[in-house]
């Protein structure tokens, strides 16, 4: 959890809003630091987190999480974190036939399947446990990242359906939050990715867009973060609020500053 980012977003783990869909988007740079931020943020907020980690292995998130102050192994054992490790599960699904439907069942199918088993997995993971005291505040679904599903042969429409189902269940029914990372291909003509990106950004309440600098690589400023607050359900004429900051990633934190105000320049 980066304290500076919390200040920019005006939230703390104690009083975060519920029922929101946050879209993380990166163009020409790596936006995974935002995923680590939200993972540690919601674990510290004592939420039940379902993490669909398709991009990296568990130990990667664990080691970075420890730098940010959360222990994923302990959270998983306690039941606070349900972790779907995409890379390991893909190997299991691919090489051995599974009896019951596996969340990544679409890997075995010849044509573009649907993501129903994945949705069932998410719903099962986040459904409230009956008959016990409420240990966790609200459920959170974290997906890193959605563009990998396109690379694995699922169509853009199927992925949008999956997001829609998840939003209906997690955000509306269970009053939880969703955080999704989508890569923006930028000037490369990736139509499916653009459909996916546009579709999800229309549904989201908060968009965090990490971009590389227009002038290229810089050692002191790693990129630029655009924050956009939206109200998708209310068609108001009010303009959405937008802020832009530049950032530099350090070993355990990220420092944000206004454009052109990097400490290296001043």
């Amino acid at each position: 959890m980066f304290v500076e980012l919390n200040n920019l977003l005006n939230t703390t783990p104690d009083r975060a809003e519920q029922g929101k869909l946050t879209l993380l988007c990166d163009a020409k740079t790596d936006g995974s630091f935002l995923v680590h931020h939200f993972l540690s943020f919601y674990l510290k907020a004592n939420c039940k987190v379902c993490f669909v980690a398709l991009f990296q292995s568990f130990s990667h998130y664990n080691i970075v999480g420890q730098k940010l102050g959360v222990n994923l192994t302990v959270a998983r054992e306690r039941g606070q974190l349900v972790f779907l490790e995409g890379l390991k599960s893909a190997v299991d699904v691919f090489f051995q036939t599974q009896e019951e439907p596996h969340p990544l069942q679409f890997l075995r199918e010849a044509n573009a399947g649907n993501l129903k088993p994945l949705f069932e997995f998410v719903r099962e993971a986040l459904k409230p446990v009956d008959g016990g005291e409420a240990r966790w505040t609200y459920p959170v679904l974290l997906v890193d990242d959605l563009s990998v599903l396109l690379s694995l042969g699922v169509g853009a429409v199927a992925v949008l359906d999956f997001i829609h189902y998840c939003r209906a269940t997690v955000c509306w029914e269970l009053k939880g939050n969703m955080v999704i990372l989508v890569h923006d291909s930028g000037d490369v003509e990736d139509e499916e990715n653009n459909i996916l990106l546009n579709g999800v950004s229309h549904q989201s309440h908060l968009i965090l867009r990490a971009e590389g600098l227009a002038t290229g690589f810089c050692r002191d400023v790693h990129g630029q973060l655009r924050i956009l607050w939206r109200r998708p359900s209310q068609p108001t004429a009010q303009r959405d609020q937008s802020l832009t900051y530049q950032y530099k990633i350090q070993d355990k934190s990220v420092s944000f500053f206004a454009k052109g105000m990097s400490p290296a320049v001043l």
Binding site: D30, S57, S185, F217
Partner: protein, 475 residues
Amino acid sequence: MAAVATCGSGAGSTGSAVATASKSNVTSFQRRGPRASGTNDSGPRLVSIAGTRPSVRNGQLLVSTGLPALDQLLGGGLAIGTVLLIEEDKYNIYSPLLFKCFLAEGIVSGHTLLVASAKEDPANILQELPAPLLDDNSKKEFDEDVYNHKTPESNIKMKIAWRYQLLPKMEQIGPVSSRFGHYYDASKRIPQELIEASNWHGFFLPEKISSTLKVEPCSLTPGYIKLLQFIQNIIYEEGFDGSNPQKKQRNVLRIGIQNLGSPLWGDDICCAENGSNSHSLTKFLYVLRGLLRTSLSACIITMPTHLIQNKAIIARVTNLSDIVIGLESFIGSERETNPLYKDYHGLIHIRQIPRLNNLICDESDVKDLAFKLKRKLFTIEWVQDNYLRQERNIYPPGFSYLLKQKDSAWGEGSLQHSTFLMSFLAKATAFASRLVRHSEPLKQTGSGRIHQAAGPRLWHDGRRQEAPGLLGIPL
């Protein structure tokens, strides 16, 4: 042994890298539990695998790519469990050399090899590997290692240093040389006995595709399915993932896949823009990365990306790989006659470096890298930009300058670019040129030529006169 030449201070300390290419791994380095056998590993094992070393940044276990200069640019080497993707140059002349150096490094370090190709028989590929340049020092090491391997464990009781007896004995696999990173002579072939002493597996697609194996239909091309099954088989049989209870493997598997994505593999992404199997390659890469992450292996893939019709697939392939390096040779391009590049054979672009177990990655500051294949060695150097050297003569000190950049650079973030230029000028001149605020790009007022150089006579009566120079209007 030839050293890598450095050009300017920007190239980092490749010279010192030669010296620090760590002598041997026989230290009591505790290898922090790698991702490979995370669940099977109960505690730290005091085993050092020859040819590997831990990264200084995040404790990852690294293997050498076969080119010490490239290791330096990648932050120490290739991490175990990751994929190194090489985008081939247009005529596929230099990428096979990198491929072969990787494999030769595996043989010299004693690693197991898995070579997959659809074009050449892996046995022939191995015959053509470059010979390592072993100097006398390491020859002596070789003899010593062989000697140590043969002597039995001694149980001599230590009298004074009795504490050391309680430490577990160090095990070491005996390779040819226990150094990290070697230089290779591209004109000589690797000695036959080294190949025979090594453990390697070959996958030649025309042989494997003929045998009928029951394969479930999924959207991967049959060649890719067979290759994945072969790799998974080797990893399981030889115990690289720690799941086989019979085999306790403490070696690294180096996988090399040549020309992946070319039509010889049965994939049509190089032929058609929207082929039937457009997800085949990306799915293959995903499952391959899953296999690598759970085993002690590292993989090099060469891919003819310049042939891929659909640019979106290249972007997806780049996202799914860990390290991506692009080779661009000057043959046939207009850069061949450019005097700046006259000593070099091509450019090498480091397109992506992964952030493993970390928020940051070891990105090198130097972006303009060129390679050349001298008679024997493949070297990578920084191409110094001569433009900045000339600029210094045009801007005399004592004046403020409005820096107009190319229109594309007038965005946020270009402040860093201009401050760099300003600081560069300031370092060279006695008086610092002052930094001006950004403003809208001005239309060019003059012809762009400099009519007269500034001199001290402009200040003689104390009145500040207009400084001539770029903004001077011709009379």
